[in-house]
Amino acid sequence: MKFLVCISQTPDTTAKITFNADGTELNAAGVQFIMNPYDEWYALVRACELREALGGTVVAINVGPATNETVIRKALAIGADEAVRIDADPKSAGFVAKQIAEYARSQQFDIIFLGKETIDYNGSEVGAMVAEYLDLPYISYASKLELNGQLATLERDIEGGVEVLEVDLPFVLSAAKGMAEQRIPNMKGIMTARSKPLQVIPAVAYEELVNTVQFTLPPAKAGVKMIAPDQMDELVRLLHEEAKVI
């Protein structure tokens, strides 16, 4: 089996988000960057589990500059066998999807894994785009995956429940909670990660269709209005008359 896991680098969940003066770029100073949690906890770990059970290779791929290699090495420490970095600024979901699809096209992967979305741009766009470029089935928000030869059985999160489905290899999936449990890389993993292959390849041309105009911070909350615990009639009145939500 040959699995590709797409990993993205994002600001840490707890990072304070600020932008430069004209709102065009994230202020990276003081921000810790991590592997997008859904890519790491669910997509990468499930791919490694299947490789351990069935044999094969897990390739981690990232589109980004050389500074992303810390995160890429972490993917190797968790269990990916090799990694590929496409040396470019990941300007948009469309750009990233095109790069991954062009790399994967010639490689015959059985499953291409991604996280359900990234915690920075929250788009959930790349997986469907990669699947379309490669003309493959796409299962989004997959919370369970079992393989039996060429047949995969999956559960996909839908509103208020799950859908149980079957599909033959190859396909693309985005992984949600339930797919696997987070793994902390052990010392052996960290040591061997240093010597695992990390291939750097140039980006292919892509015509950008989406431009970021500006980032802004949400308007500050007006501040919490405290209600005494014996004044629940007052809270109900405020929810009705002021907040207009009941």
């Binding site: 469309g94 915690i119 766009e125 699947a131 033959d168 269709l209 989406v210 629940m232 109900v236 929810l239």
Partner: protein, 321 residues
Amino acid sequence: MVLVFAESPRGHFKKAAFEAVTYGKKVADLLGTSCVAITLGANVTGAEELGRYGATRVLHIADPRFDNVDSHGYAAALADIAAQNKATVVILSHTSTGKAIAGRLAVRLQAALASGVNSLPTLQGAALRVKKSVFSGKAIAEYELNSPVKVISLMGNAVRPETSGEPVSVETISSSASHGRIRVKEVKTIEGIVPLPEAEIVVSAGRGLKGPENWGMVEDLATTLGATTACSRPVADSHWRPHHEHVGQTGIAIRPNLYIAIGISGAIQHLAGVNNSKKIVVINKDPEAPFFKAADYGVVGDLFEIVPRLNEAIKKFKAAN
């Protein structure tokens, strides 16, 4: 024209479809064109009602091949209809279905995609500018969509369904789009409750409840409000409540009109899933709980006394109104 994919899970239109058509009508007005709705699947009922929300035509591919969602088949069919009708904007709901399709559709149509958009676009020459929440609710991004055809997926609860027209007769059409390769075996849904992503009011509780045996008062409050219940991650991880109730970064992200958080401290991972709620009420015994900083209304005290009292106050209000 503006093409709106009105999704109909298991044959029925829900709020997401009415929101999408309402939004589509407003985008069409902005562009000086018409709004056309398209629906897929053999057993769809009530499609003519989409006219009420502003669709001047309703197209229906009444084909059992589309009874279950397969992003491949859906995107192919929608792209064909968009191309045949020279759609300049295609609108989807940012739901499990929309997320599966939007990226595929954008690639097929060589279209710019903005997903999870939460406000009406503005015109910038031939381009459209749209806004969405990014960095898990910590920022807002404005994007410019520059291609001749644009795809937008609309965040739930971002616009209210508005009626602006009359029911229209449904035009049944066929599609030669190839069938997808996914075989849906079973759909397991919880009956009788509004799914969390669609709920307008959510009552959520955390470790402050001390144990699963205490959830009765949370459910009572939710019943009184017509709300859906939710929980924090530690509660789901301890199996006090089922995983499908877990809201937060790793669970479900929601944006109800009212989110009532009971005994939840408000860790940043939890806030990431709920901070787009329109109004937040926090009930916690700890006045230093970080959740109060994100709240609109706060009550400090013993939740075991406050929650039943709030329930009674709402009952009284409902009886009087």
